[in-house]
Amino acid sequence: MSFLEVRDLCLDVGDFELSGIGLKAEKGDYLALIGPTGSGKSLLLETIIGFYGPEKGRIILEGKDITNFPPDMRQISIVYQDHVLFPHMDIFENIAYALRKKLRDKKQIEAEVKQIAGVLGIGELLHRKPATLSGGEKQRAAIARSLVVRPKLLLLDEPFSALDARTKEKLREMLKKAINEYSTTVLHVTHDFEDVWALANRVVVIRKGEVMQAGDPESVFKRPSPDFVAEFLGTNVLKGCVKALEGKLTVVEAEGMKIYSSDPAEPGEGVTVSIRPEEIILAREALESSARNTVQGRVSGVFKKEHLVVVEVEIGNAEIKAVITPTSCEMLGLEPGREIYAVFKASNARIIR
C-alpha cells in the first residue's frame, strides 16, 4: 500500500482536464510533476487538496480514501506560485493562524513559529505585513506557513516560477533543508527542469491530463519513454528497426545508421532510439574506445546554448545533436561542413517503443 495513491482521476473543468491520472508516492518521497503549460498539473493538485471533486477516480492517503473528505479534514498543505499570504495579518500571524487549529497553547505556537522561521531565514520578518516583502521572502513565508503544521502531504504549485534565477536557487536549498527537517512527503508541480534535478527523487511527466512517464529523474531523463517525453526533454530520437542481436547488444538500423544498444529487443521490431545530446562525444578521428558506437557525419550547425555548445551533426539522413563545452568546440575547430565522428556507448543508446 502506497502512502499516497491517486487512482484513475478524471475531471474536466473547461480549460483543463484530467483523464485517468494515476500516481503513487511513498512516505518521504519528493515527487516532481512536470509537463508543458496547460497539461493539467495544477488542476491535479487542486483536486488532491479538495478544491475540486473528481468526476471519477479515488485519492487514497495513508490507506484512507479521502476523495470525498472536505479540505479541512485532509491535512494537506499547499504553496501556490502567488504565495497567498493573508494580507490582513503579519507574517507571524499568518504562520500562527495555520497552527491554531492544531495547538491551543500560545507559547507552543510561538515556539513552533520561531523554529520554522529560523529554518527558512525569515525570523527578522515576522512582524511585517506580506505586502512589504520581496517575492522570495513572501514565498519563504508561504512555505513556512504550510510546513509548520507538519502536513501529511505538501503540495507545491510552481512555487518558484515568478522569481529570478538567483532567488530560485537559494530558495531551493532552503526548501530542501526545511523538507528534511520536517520530513514531509511533497508533490511539486513545475515546468523548470532545475527544480526536478535539485529537489525530486521521483518524476512524473504529464501531458494533456495524462501521465506519460514516471520514475526517478535519472531514468526519466536518460530513458524518456513515449515520443512526447523524449521530445519534451530534448533528446535525440531516431526511428529504426532491429536488425540483429550480437551477444547482449541489439543492432538497430535507424535512419541510415547502425546503432548498438544494450537494451533488449526482438529482431524485426520497429523501435525508436533515444540518445541524450550530452552523452555523445565528438572526435576528429574514429578512436579506439570502449564506446561501441562510432558514426561518421558532417557538422551542420554550431549553436551556443547557455554556457555550452550544441553541435548538429548530419549522419546519413538523420541529424543528431551533441552538447559539448566551448573549449572542446574550439579545440576540435568545429564549423559547419567539417567531418566529424560521433561516439557514444551502447548503454546510452536507449530503445524506446
Binding site: 487542486e46 487538496i49 479538495g50 478544491f51 472536505p70 479540505p71 479541512d72 479534514m73 485532509r74 491535512q75 494537506i76 498543505s77 499547499i78 501556490y80 502567488d82 497567498v84 493573508f86 494580507p87 490582513h88 493562524y97 495555520a98 497552527l99 491554531r100 487549529k101 492544531k102 506557513r145 503544521v149 502536513p151
Partner: protein, 248 residues
C-alpha cells in the same frame, strides 16, 4: 484632433452635468435654506428617512452578504437564474418594482393574511422599508458579489487546508479581506435606500407627515409649487449621494 475631440466631449458633458447640479446648490438664499431645513415637515421627513434607510440598509446588508457569498463561491441548482434575476434592477424601473410590491402586499395576495397578524405594509412606514429593501437589495448583492469575486478563492482554500471550516474561514479570512468593499457597499446601499422614490411612492404612498421621506418631500413640494422646500430636500439628498460616492 481625435484626442481633443473626445476630451472636449467629455469635458462639455461633465460641465453640463456639473452646472445642473450647481444650479441646485446656489439657487437658494442661505436664510431660505435654513428656514426650510428647520421647518417641521423637513425635520419629520429627515428623521423618517434616516430611520427607514438605516433599517433597510441593515436588513439589506444582512441578506446580501450571504447571498453574494453563495453566488460567488458555491455552485447550486438555480444559481444562474438567481444571477439573472439579480441583474434585473439595473434596467428595471423602481416604479414597476413598487407596483409589483403593491400587488403582492395588497388586498389580492398577502395583504389580508398580514393584516390578520397586525402587520400593515401598504401606505405605512413598514412599506417604506420594504420598498427601499427591494430597490437596494439586488444592487447591493451585485456590488458585494464583485467584492467577493476580487478575493482569490485560494486564500480560503489555504485556510481550509489548515483545518478551518467554511464559516471559520469566512470569518477569519474572507470577511477581513472584504472589509473595505463591504463598508463601501453599505454606504452605497444607504444612499440608494434614502433616495428611493418610485417604489416608495407607489407602495407606501406619499402622504404628508405620515410616509413622507425626503424624495417624497421633494415631490410633494414641487406639486404645491413650494420650491424652497423642494430644493432643500434635493440638496440634502445630493449631499448624501456625494458622501456615498466619495467613500466608494
Amino acid at each position: 484632433w481625435f484626442r481633443t475631440f473626445t476630451v472636449g466631449i467629455a469635458c462639455t458633458f461633465t460641465f453640463l452635468l456639473f452646472m445642473t447640479i450647481g444650479t441646485l446648490l446656489f439657487v437658494l438664499k442661505p436664510s431660505d435654506l435654513l428656514s426650510s431645513l428647520l421647518s417641521e415637515e423637513m425635520l419629520y421627513s429627515m428623521k423618517l428617512s434616516m430611520l427607514t434607510s438605516s433599517a433597510s440598509t441593515i436588513s439589506v446588508m444582512c441578506c446580501s452578504i450571504p447571498t453574494a457569498y453563495a453566488l460567488s463561491r458555491f455552485s447550486f441548482p438555480g444559481k444562474s437564474v438567481i444571477k439573472t434575476v439579480l441583474g434585473l434592477p439595473m434596467a428595471f424601473p423602481e416604479l414597476v418594482m413598487g407596483l409589483a410590491l403593491l400587488l403582492l402586499f395588497g388586498q389580492g395576495f398577502l395583504g389580508p393574511y398580514l393584516e390578520a397578524l397586525g402587520i400593515k405594509v401598504t401606505f405605512s412606514k413598514l412599506g417604506i422599508i420594504i420598498a427601499q429593501f427591494f430597490v437596494a437589495f439586488p444592487y447591493a448583492v451585485r456590488v458585494i458579489y464583485s467584492t467577493f469575486e476580487d478575493i482569490n478563492p485560494r486564500y480560503e482554500q489555504v485556510s481550509r487546508s489548515f483545518g478551518y471550516g467554511e464559516f471559520e474561514t469566512f470569518r477569519h479570512v474572507t470577511l477581513p479581506m472584504a472589509r473595505s468593499g463591504l463598508f463601501a457597499s453599505g454606504v452605497i446601499t444607504f444612499a440608494r435606500c434614502i433616495g428611493a422614490f418610485g417604489a416608495v411612492l407607489v407602495l407606501a404612498g406619499g402622504s404628508y407627515m405620515h410616509t413622507e421621506v425626503l424624495p417624497v418631500t421633494l415631490y410633494l413640494n414641487i406639486s404645491y409649487g413650494n420650491l424652497e422646500m423642494a430644493i432643500t430636500s434635493g440638496i440634502l439628498l445630493m449631499g448624501i449621494a456625494f458622501l456615498a460616492i466619495l467613500s466608494f
